[in-house]
């Protein structure tokens, strides 16, 4: 991480409405390619935010930084009021060490486009791994929790199957159960339906709808399914060239986009359907 002046960034966020996730002037670059340019984005507790935009606009990068799969080059990310990428030392912020990362990361869960289930474990074992070995639950507790979640995603019958025996839609539902078993406060979805056949997309989006309805989760979802984003989101962010070009309620952004690039993107997407 580049040496930077962090004196303007608070050690923690305080006050009435502390956002669950807060990106503050976050910059990410690969070599000379600036992928995200001083991004500011707050997500309130319980809010569902969809991220849309053209390929390469930095959508995945936003989620990966929050999951600590990428380091950042500038700015600070806060989760639940505490810095994620940094930690307080004395009266200033320094880059987070691995202990700090592990503590804050525990509040975040993520589902990937390619599912990334552990192929040598059954569906149930995939779900139990984290609760037993990270959260320290007993096998029995972890099993109960996992079975409940597998039931929620409709995978009870397949719980003893390995991923190679499951369809893409089934694997993704197990992956959602696995992430939920860690009881995260924030869930990240990166194009979780993009690798699926059209006829099984519904079984995954229905699970996400259920999560929105039944849990007080904060969610950030990258998607190319505009209809789904419109239905389910509290807010939609349109990314363009590593910046938020426009954001607003689904009705506003899809119904009356203000910016020309948003209009162009949305009409191009509509034509493609």
């Amino acid at each position: 991480m580049d040496a930077q002046d962090l004196s303007g960034f608070p050690l923690r966020l305080e006050g009435d409405a502390v956002p669950m996730v807060s990106f503050r002037k976050v910059t990410k670059s690969y070599g000379s390619l600036v992928v995200l340019d001083s991004l500011d984005l707050d997500v309130a507790e319980g809010e569902m935010v969809s991220v849309i935009g053209p390929s390469g606009s930095g959508k995945t990068t936003v989620l990966r930084m929050l999951m600590t799969l990428e380091t950042i080059n500038g700015g600070v990310i806060y989760v639940d009021g505490e810095p994620l990428t940094h930690m307080p030392r004395g009266d200033r912020l320094v880059p987070a060490d691995s202990r700090h990362l592990r503590r804050i990361r525990a509040k975040i869960g993520m589902c990937f486009q390619q599912f990334n289930l552990f192929p040598h474990m059954t569906a149930l074992e995939n779900c139990m791994e984290g609760p037993v070995h990270v959260l320290g639950l007993s096998k029995k507790e972890a099993r109960e929790r996992s079975e409940e979640l597998l039931a929620m995603v409709g995978m009870t019958e397949k719980r003893d199957q390995h991923p190679s025996r499951l369809s893409g839609g089934q694997q993704q539902r197990v992956a959602i159960a696995r992430a939920m078993a860690m009881r995260p406060k924030v869930m990240l979805f990166d194009e979780v339906t993009s690798a699926l056949d059209p006829e099984v997309i519904g079984e995954v989006t229905n699970v996400i709808r259920k999560l929105v309805a039944e849990h007080n989760l904060t969610m950030l979802m990258v998607t190319h399914q505009m209809g789904f984003a419109k239905d389910i989101s509290d807010r939609v962010c349109f990314f363009y060239g590593g910046r938020i070009e426009e954001q607003g309620t689904p009705d506003a952004l899809f119904g009356h986009p203000k910016r020309e690039r948003t209009q162009q993107f949305l009409s191009a997407v509509r034509e493609a359907i």
């Binding site: 999951m67 799969l69 190679s164």
Partner: protein, 222 residues
């Protein structure tokens, strides 16, 4: 021309069979060292320390570019000059174990590299510790693609055990040679050694293939 003597053959067979025990012991011990040490060498190249990676890579290159028999001699005869006086068995096991560890570390490295990046990312997203990630997630998946290479080197180390005879480890070759110098008959002992090696190598290779298939099934990766 051929003067094969059956009575002599039956006489020396028990001695050779006894020596086969030593050959198997040497191969087994050396392999056990190589399997563990090789894994350590492979993992050492994946730490954030660039210096450690470089040192380990150079050491592996060095071992792989020099003959095993030289390494055996070196540990046994040069060791004492550094105050390291080792029995032939100890020196032999160190040399052959280290030699094959270098080769096995390359096999593991390939296996580790074959595990998709998404598996690491899933492990991070579940907040698994580094050691948990290696032992529960990455290594079990690196194993199946490594097994064929590991099997080849098991047969390889077995066939290389005769090199230990140069420092006096009483394995098959050493014993056959001793019989030859005592009796001036080399045809029968050396032929028997060849047959014994063949009889043990072939089923081992077949066994490895079965084991590989079994592991894949066991891990649910078929």
């Amino acid at each position: 021309m051929f003067d094969w003597r059956w009575d002599f053959t039956w006489d020396i067979l028990p001695r050779l069979i006894a020596a086969t025990g030593n050959t198997l012991l040497a191969a087994g011990l050396g392999y056990a060292i190589a399997v563990v040490l090789g894994l350590a060498l492979a993992l050492a190249q994946r730490t954030p320390s660039r210096a450690l990676t470089l040192v380990v890579r150079e050491a592996i290159e060095f071992i792989r570019s020099t003959p095993l028999v030289l390494q055996i001699f070196f540990v046994f005869y040069v060791g004492p000059q550094f105050g390291l006086r080792l029995s032939p068995w100890t020196a032999g096991m160190i040399a052959i174990g280290l030699h094959y560890a270098a080769y096995l570390s390359e096999v593991y490295r390939g296996g580790l590299d074959s595990v998709p990046k998404g598996q690491w990312e899933a492990a991070t997203s579940l907040n698994l510790s580094t050691s948990r990630t290696y032992f529960r997630v990455i290594l079990p998946q690196a194993l199946p693609p490594s097994l064929a290479g590991m099997g080849n080197y098991l047969v390889g180390i077995f066939k290389d055990t005769p090199m230990l005879s140069v420092i006096g480890v009483a394995e098959l070759m050493h014993t056959a040679n001793a019989i030859g110098s005592e009796t001036y008959r080399f045809l029968e002992p050396f032929t028997l050694v060849g047959i014994i090696f063949l009889a043990l190598s072939l089923p081992t290779a077949a066994g490895i293939r079965l084991f590989e298939a079994w592991v894949r099934r066991k891990l649910g990766m078929v």
